[in-house]
């Protein structure tokens, strides 16, 4: 339950972000400026590289993995890394190539977390706008919904849900995203609330601009940056959530690998240090990818919202 409460992160970056973007005036385009700032952040570049490597591995999994992820070889079980040149990272309890499973695991992690992000952002934008802009009944109903979802204990509820809908990539995605959107929706709502009181929006409204126009032209651009930042922090949360569920056995089915599952499967062999590497490898990969996204997110925030330097969360 620990690291999955994005509302906290999102909420506090709000006012920081709110202050920024508007009063800045620079001759260079915002994107150019952002990239210039991003480049200066060495950690962010490291993060970007890590993420790109994993994305490449995930996308090209069928091409770059040396073996099929499910190819067993009972004569070559428990090969430690480096023992056999054919298996750079060694083999597991069934003689499967760990590198191949790692690569396919990256694919699973990325697919699940990106899909979950897509779902969450769509829901958050929709409900955040409705609630923040129209207020009234919308706001009341959605607030109640936020409260209910916000009160559901994440992991416990996800497990119950997984039991109901069964294991699988799509199912995990749904289970981890269904509770994830209120945080972002609150962020969107807060942004909308903040800006719809601002003079430039009031002015547009008094000049007869339509709601849709105000939303797209005035509110969305102001929301997009904090949203990108929040999302870059949400992705590692989803990766961790998928790994956690898989670790507990409520993830995807065998033989498709997932890092969480690889860590979970080694648990029973832990009494011998000789088998430790089978768990260490996916754990390191998990930590690396998650950190990569976080560094990237940090860089993005600094780049997209220069004033946030003061409030670097």
């Amino acid at each position: 339950m620990a690291a999955q409460n994005p509302p906290v992160q999102g909420a506090s970056s709000v006012h920081a972000a709110a202050r920024g973007a508007i009063y800045e005036y620079k001759p260079l385009s915002p994107a150019q400026l952002a990239w210039r700032r991003f480049r200066r952040n060495r950690l962010a570049i490291v993060g970007l590289i890590i993420v790109l490597i994993f994305v490449f591995a995930g996308v090209c999994a069928p091409l770059v993995s040396p073996f099929p992820y499910d190819r067993t070889n009972l004569f070559k079980t428990w090969l430690p890394p480096g023992r056999d040149p054919a298996h750079v990272l060694g083999t597991d309890e069934l003689g499967r190539d760990i590198l191949s499973r790692l690569i396919w695991g990256a694919r699973v992690s990325l697919v699940v977390s990106l899909a979950a992000t897509g779902i969450v952002v769509s829901l958050a934008l929709l409900f955040g706008f409705l609630s923040g802009y129209f207020g009234g009944v919308w706001d009341y109903a959605l607030n109640r919904m936020f409260e209910v979802i916000g009160a559901l204990p994440g992991l416990l509820f996800q497990i119950l849900l997984m039991l109901l809908i069964g294991n699988g990539v799509l199912q995990v995605t749904v289970a981890i995203s269904i509770l994830g959107w209120p945080g972002l929706a609150r962020l969107v709502r807060a942004q909308v609330l903040t800006y719809k009181e601002r003079d430039f929006v009031s002015a547009a409204r008094s000049l007869g601009a339509t709601t849709a126009f105000i939303m797209v032209r005035h509110l969305l651009p102001n929301i997009i940056n904090p949203l990108i930042v929040a999302v870059s922090f949400a992705i590692p949360g989803f990766i961790a959530a998928e790994a956690g569920l898989s670790f507990l056995g409520y993830g995807i089915n065998d033989p498709l690998p997932s890092w969480g599952k690889m860590v979970g499967a080694i648990g029973r062999y832990l009494s011998s240090p000789n088998y430790l590497y089978v768990g260490v490898i996916p754990t390191v990969a998990l930590a690396l990818l998650v950190l990569g996204f976080s560094f990237l997110g940090d860089g993005l925030r600094d780049a997209l919202d220069p004033s946030s330097d003061r409030a670097r969360l």
Partner: protein
């Protein structure tokens, strides 16, 4: 015993997850119910059924209590003379972590699958088994059956007293059976006594609420110590079933309900122990001073605490017994001379893990296709590399070596590993599939299920080009799915290719083989083979053991040939016993060739609870008593 399956699976799951429980992971899960034939040839099987007219010799109970010596041999607090090499009474403590969780029901007659650690110690069952699985008298000293084979008369011992000084009588057994059949009590083990198994007269009708409990075919005979049991069909193995007929006290049952033993204040026992402390994190029982002399234990206390890492706790000198069921633990045992000396593989409950098909659905309705799949399971390699020979034997049929009517050697060739033949059969079958879903019952993960299913899946993929997705389903969901029936009773399961196991409830081929009887007769699988069903029906009531065995072997052969089931491994769980656990049950026996208490563990049902003791070398090993 079946209950293990629940317990095992539930703890299993947590263990599997437990990184921390590290080593232990599975340790606590290995059935705590030992018995022990080995990887070598199985010993002669015990007779499948006892001739109803010839009850086994009675252990003549000595009516006069032994005088308690004031000097000379040491006695424990309940007046039992300790063997010469026994540790002093304060060390006569047995600590266990296996066998369920502490803090659940205590009596098999009140609840079976949810009963916890240190159950079955508070009564004397009608009959018992010894360490060689032979039937011996329990609360009933003798029994006879009527000419027509339908009415049994059990004569009870008259020297067994409850701890409240009332005698154990037929009334207690009648109350117990009525409780089990009463719809209100919703007993979870009713199949055991119902038609096709125990065949107790009117049992099913009472369960269904169609007849009052008074109509049940279990009643008091001519006096307090005579119990009459009527069966609806001839059931020669009935006395064997009654090792689970553990009495509840009629008075306590009426006053406090079925859970009276779960509370030290209301606990009443006529067995070797009585409950002293009871909670979900600890159960402690102490020797029952009122028990009959041959039932009184050497042990002073037994303690159950949940050690999630029982393998480690065992090594740390905190536990007296643990199981071994994963590769890392096997390695640890093999590499440690001291542990190796303490390890004993045994037959457990003769459990066989097997694959099955829903033969009503394509492509599994195609015999050739099933045969093709049966030739792709490389059991020898699985045992050699995955389970290690210590923990399993390759299974080519259902009945494990040592089980009555077992015929594995003769059937070995039918489902042998032969990829070339498999390819040929697949081509001939005309079946064309790209993808199969293999669903494993989750608890089998505890016995290498994940590894075995994936090795098999890969073998199918490499030889036939069929992708096999393996899904591990928690036991509750799995069985709910497997046993799902349409309103008109037709099977309605999504599991058309599965991996599951079964272990015996009583040592008779009828018990194991009726598992495959088919859904038409209320069985778990959809293979409804008329010939098989007829063979079972014919063999069940037969008293000619040789002929009966022949029929069962014929039935098993048919089952293997039909390939509705692909048999994978016979488990031989390895258990570790501290060297200081001694007593008759720990001696090598006829079925149990190794050292170690036979199935169902330290219990009143096999007398082991009364017979084991702690030897005086205990302090060399034991570090603490929790």
């Amino acid at each position: 015993m079946n209950r293990q399956e629940t317990v095992l699976s539930r703890r299993q799951m947590l263990k599997l997850l437990s990184l921390g429980a590290g080593g232990a992971l599975l340790a606590a899960c290995a059935p705590a119910t030992p018995a022990a034939p080995p990887a070598t040839e199985a010993p002669t099987a015990p007779p499948p059924t006892e001739a109803p007219t010839a009850p086994p010799p009675t252990e003549a109970p000595t009516p006069t209590p032994e005088p308690t010596p004031t000097t000379g041999p040491r006695v424990n607090s309940v007046g039992k003379v300790l063997p010469d090499d026994a540790a002093p009474p304060e060390q006569q403590v047995y600590v266990t972590a296996g066998q369920g969780n502490p803090g659940q029901f205590m009596d098999i007659s009140a609840m079976v699958y949810n009963r916890g650690a240190l159950s079955d110690l508070y009564g004397v069952p009608l009959t018992r088994i010894n360490k060689d699985f032979e039937l011996v008298p329990g609360a009933a000293k003798e029994w006879k059956v009527s000419e027509d084979g339908l009415t049994w008369t059990f004569t009870l011992r008259d020297d067994i007293m409850w701890s409240d000084d009332t005698p154990l009588t037929a009334d207690d057994f009648v109350a117990t059976f009525r409780y089990m059949a009463d719809p209100k009590s919703a007993y979870d083990f009713t199949w055991y006594y119902s038609k096709g198994s125990g065949n107790i007269k009117n049992f099913d009708e009472v369960v269904a609420g169609k007849l009052p409990v008074e109509e049940l075919g279990v009643r008091k005979g001519a006096n307090d110590y005579e119990l009459i049991v009527e069966t609806g069909e001839v059931t020669p193995y009935l006395p064997r079933l009654f090792m689970f007929a553990m009495p509840l006290q009629a008075k306590a049952l009426a006053a406090h309900g079925p859970a009276y033993n779960s509370n030290p204040a209301t606990c009443v026992s006529c067995g070797p122990f009585i409950v002293k402390e009871f909670s979900p994190t600890r159960v402690e029982v102490v020797a029952n001073p009122k028990a009959a002399d041959d039932i009184k234990p050497f042990l002073e206390r037994m303690i159950a605490v949940p050690f999630p890492d029982s393998f480690q706790a065992y090594q740390a000198g905190q536990l007296d017994f643990t199981g071994v069921s994963n590769a890392a633990q096997v390695d640890a045992v093999l590499n440690d001379p001291q542990l190796s000396a303490q390890a004993t593989p045994d037959v457990g409950d003769f459990r066989t893990d097997y694959f099955f098909f829903d033969v009503t659905k394509p492509p599994f309705d195609n015999l050739k296709f099933r045969q093709a799949l049966s030739h792709l399971l490389d059991r020898e390699s699985i045992v050699k590399f995955i389970t290690k020979p210590l923990l399993a034997r390759p299974a080519y049929s259902f009945l494990a070596p040592g089980f009555p009517a077992a015929n594995g050697e003769a059937l070995k060739d039918i489902q042998r590993y032969d990829p070339e033949l498999a390819k040929k059969l697949y081509a001939e079958s005309g079946v064309k599939v790209d993808k199969l879903l293999l669903q494993m019952r989750g608890d089998l993960e505890g016995y290498f299920g994940k590894e075995i299913t994936q090795a098999y899946a890969d073998s199918i993929k490499q030889n036939l080009g069929i992708e096999v997705e393996v899904k591990s389903v928690p036991i509750k969901d799995y069985m709910a799915d497997l046993l799902k029936r349409t309103p008109d009773g037709k099977p309605d399961t999504t599991i058309d290719f599965g991996y599951i196991s079964y272990g015996m409830d009583y040592l008779d081929p009828s018990n194991m083989l009726t598992v495959m009887k088919g859904s038409d007769l209320g069985g778990r699988h959809t293979w409804n083979n008329k010939e098989y069903q007829d063979l079972l029906a014919k063999a069940g009531p037969m008293t000619d053991i040789e002929e009966r065995t022949k029929l069962y072997q014929q039935a098993e052969k048919l089952m293997v040939e039909e390939c509705a089931f692909i048999f994978c491994i016979h488990r031989t769980p390895v258990n570790l016993w501290k060297p200081y656990i001694k007593g008759a049950p720990m001696e090598p026996g006829k079925v149990n060739l190794n050292r170690g208490v036979a199935w169902p563990g330290v219990s009143a049902m096999n007398g082991a609870a009364s017979e084991i003791y702690i030897a005086n070398n205990v302090l060399e090993f034991r570090k603490s008593i929790p």
